[in-house]
């Protein structure tokens, strides 16, 4: 399997980050492929009828990043619902009116997505054909008159740095980060032992990845289960505080010891 990356390099056997999941650009892409594969008319096929096959394909996708899995499964659940409704016309789910679940809505999205795919293909074709235009960089001015804008120069430098940075980002294939729950648990235990308490937000940091957030959360559950910490939240959606559990003198809260 070969993928052409944005920077023009070919990556063998590696998928571009965040973009492609097992060859599909997303849930709609998979659905569209099913429709096309079975040579169904996008305008008249009952989308719910594809639910079984869609789910089967999702199952076969194997390892899905959590965020993508959610999107695929969301669509799968919609398809199942459509299917169920067609089998049991009396089935009237509560408050579905303004949700994005109607067959028509889904069909319209699918059709638009099909158009997007075609347009992307046509644009890609043009790009491959390489028939681009060039403007003229040159000029006829010999001596620079005064009045150059130093801010523009600084802005250009900043832009170059950003581009250089982004190019580097694309060059480097970042290995998937690995946080073990064990390791994170130990870290949190140390923080709590040292500081007494810490907020959930602090533990997550400014820009946590999904994996990091999940591992942190699981670690907290584990610590809570093992009676190492107390969790406290004063109001709904409020700050979650993690506190070191007071060690009781008798130790009777530690079963098994």
């Amino acid at each position: 399997m070969t993928i052409e990356r944005d920077d023009g390099s070919l990556v063998i056997g590696v998928r571009a980050p965040h973009v492609t999941v097992e060859g599909f650009e997303g849930p709609l892409d998979l659905l569209l492929e099913l429709v096309e594969e079975k040579k169904l008319d996008i305008l008249s096929v009952r989308l719910g009828d594809l639910a079984g096959e869609y789910l089967a394909r999702v199952r076969a996708l194997g390892q899905l990043p959590a965020a993508e899995a959610a999107a695929f499964l969301w669509l799968a659940s919609r398809l199942v619902l459509l299917k169920a409704r067609s089998l049991l016309p009396s089935l009237e789910p509560v408050a579905e009116e303004d949700e994005e679940v109607s067959e028509e809505e889904l069909r319209a999205r699918l059709i638009e997505y099909a158009a997007v795919k075609q347009r992307a293909a046509v644009l890609g074709e043009r790009l491959r054909a390489g028939e681009r235009a060039f403007h003229r960089e040159g000029g006829t001015v010999e001596l620079p008159p005064r009045g150059g804008d130093t801010d523009a120069l600084a802005a250009a430098w900043t832009r170059v740095l950003q581009i250089a940075l982004s190019n580097r980002r694309e060059e480097v294939t970042i290995p998937p980060e690995r946080y073990s729950v064990q390791q994170r648990t130990r870290e949190i235990e140390e923080i709590v032992a040292r500081d007494g308490s810490v907020t959930f937000a602090t533990l997550l940091g400014d820009d946590p990845t999904l994996a990091f957030a999940i591992v942190t959360f699981m670690s907290l559950l584990d610590l809570y289960r093992r009676l190492v910490i107390d969790l406290q939240q004063d109001e709904l959606y409020g700050e979650i505080r993690i506190q070191r559990k007071e060690v009781t003198r008798s130790g009777e809260e530690r079963p098994g010891e």
Binding site: D6, V19, A115, V116, R119, R126, H135
Partner: protein, 176 residues
Amino acid sequence: MGRSDLANRTEAVLFVAEKPVPRSELARVVGCTPRQLESALAELAAAYEVSGLRLQHANDEWQIVTAPEMASFVSTYLGADRLRVSPASLETLAVVAYRQPITRAEVEAVRGVNCDQTIYTLMSRRLIEERGRKETAGRPILYGTTWEFLECFGLASLDQLPTVLTPEGVVSALPE
């Protein structure tokens, strides 16, 4: 079959310009009314049909560029590299090109996937750019295609975007 003097003036000015020139500035420089300029530009565009050059425009800014058919020779001379865009970025680019100006959330609604990365890539290649803010909650950024986009795809203007046959009734019925 001589050309009009106005067309030649316009050509000379556009030739030395290193960036697209707004029509109003062009009219002022060559000394004519916007309407006269319009016919001069049309004359130039027609004359270029048989040449190695083209007249390109966007947002009523004009520039002379090379004809797309000549790209391979120009690339050879300039040592220019071929631009490559991943399929995912191409999809995002297609959505932006045909629906601009458009917010990221709107692009994502159409593609059904997160488009952070592809928008970032397209921005850093200058194929798309910010086009102000949408006056809705959160004032999200609007994106549109750039001058470079036209050049890279050899389009004289956005009107030349390839049309794709779709059941238009259905597509246009989508919520904007």
